[in-house]
Symmetry: C2
Subunit: 141 residues, 2 copies
C-alpha cells in the first residue's frame, strides 16, 4: 500500500517550531526572561539536583553557553547557585520560590496561546496530535 504524498516532516515541523518560539518571545519578555533562561527554569523543574553540565545537556545546550544565562537568572533572584559541599568543583542549581512562580506564570500564558492555535483541530485530532508529539519528542531526545 502506498502512502499518499505529503510534505517532509522536517519542512513542516521546523518552521512551526520557529513560529512558536517567535510567538513566545513577547510573553517571555514581559516576565523578564530570555528563551534560554526560560529553558533553564523548565529544566530545573524536572529533577532536584543539578550540576551545570547536566543541566545544559538536558536542555540541549552547551555548558559554556548557559553560564551567562545562569548569571542573569541568579542576579534576578530566580535561581540559587552554590558549591556542592561534597564536591566543591560542582555548583548545585535550584529554583527559588520566585523562580518557580515566574516560570509557572510564563508557562501558563504560553500554553494559553498555544491552545488557541490548537483550537482549530477537532478534539480527537488534538488529543492524538499531543499524544504523538510526546512520543516522537521522547524518541529523539
Amino acid at each position: 500500500m502506498q502512502e499518499s504524498r505529503r510534505p517532509d516532516l522536517a519542512a513542516m515541523i521546523a518552521p512551526l517550531g520557529r513560529a512558536l518560539m517567535t510567538a513566545e518571545l513577547p510573553i517571555l519578555e514581559r516576565h523578564g526572561l530570555t528563551m534560554w533562561g526560560y529553558a533553564v527554569l523548565l529544566g530545573l523543574g524536572r529533577e532536584p539536583v543539578y550540576t551545570q553540565a547536566a543541566l545544559a545537556k538536558s536542555i540541549g545546550a552547551d555548558k559554556t553557553r548557559i553560564i551567562g544565562v545562569l548569571d542573569a537568572l541568579q542576579n534576578a533572584g530566580l535561581i540559587e547557585r552554590g558549591p556542592d559541599p561534597a564536591d566543591r568543583r560542582v555548583r548545585l542549581i535550584a529554583l527559588t520560590p520566585l523562580g518557580r512562580s515566574t516560570r509557572d506564570r510564563a508557562q501558563r500564558e504560553i500554553q494559553q496561546q498555544e491552545n488557541e492555535l490548537l483550537d482549530q483541530l477537532t478534539p480527537a485530532d488534538r488529543a492524538a496530535f499531543l499524544r504523538a508529539l510526546r512520543a516522537l519528542s521522547a524518541s529523539v531526545s
Copy 2:
C-alpha cells in the same frame, strides 16, 4: 474542564525539528545538497515562475542569503537561472531535469527515514498527527 498538564508545544516541536534536520544531513550530503539547497529545490516544485526574492521569501530566507545557494545549484546543473526577457532586472529560476530527479531521490530517502520514526505510532494517531501538522503548519506560514 481543565486540560491535563503537558509540556510546552514549542519545547517539544523545536527540538524535534532540529533532530529531524540533523538526521537529514547525511542523506542530503550523499546527494550533494545542502539544507538550503534542498529547500530551494523543494520551493521550486510548487509554482512555475520565480524571481529570486519571491523564492527566498517562500522558503523563509533572505534574498541575500540564497544567492550563494543558487550559484552552487546552478554550477551543479540542478537549476537554470536566466534573465527575464520582459524585465531584464529579474532572473527566472527553474528546475532542470537533473534538479528534479535529484530532489525527488533525496526526498524519497528522507521520507522513508521519517516514516521509520512515525512507525511507532498507531495508524490512527499517525494519520491524525500528519493531518494536524499540515493544518498547524499552514496556519503559521
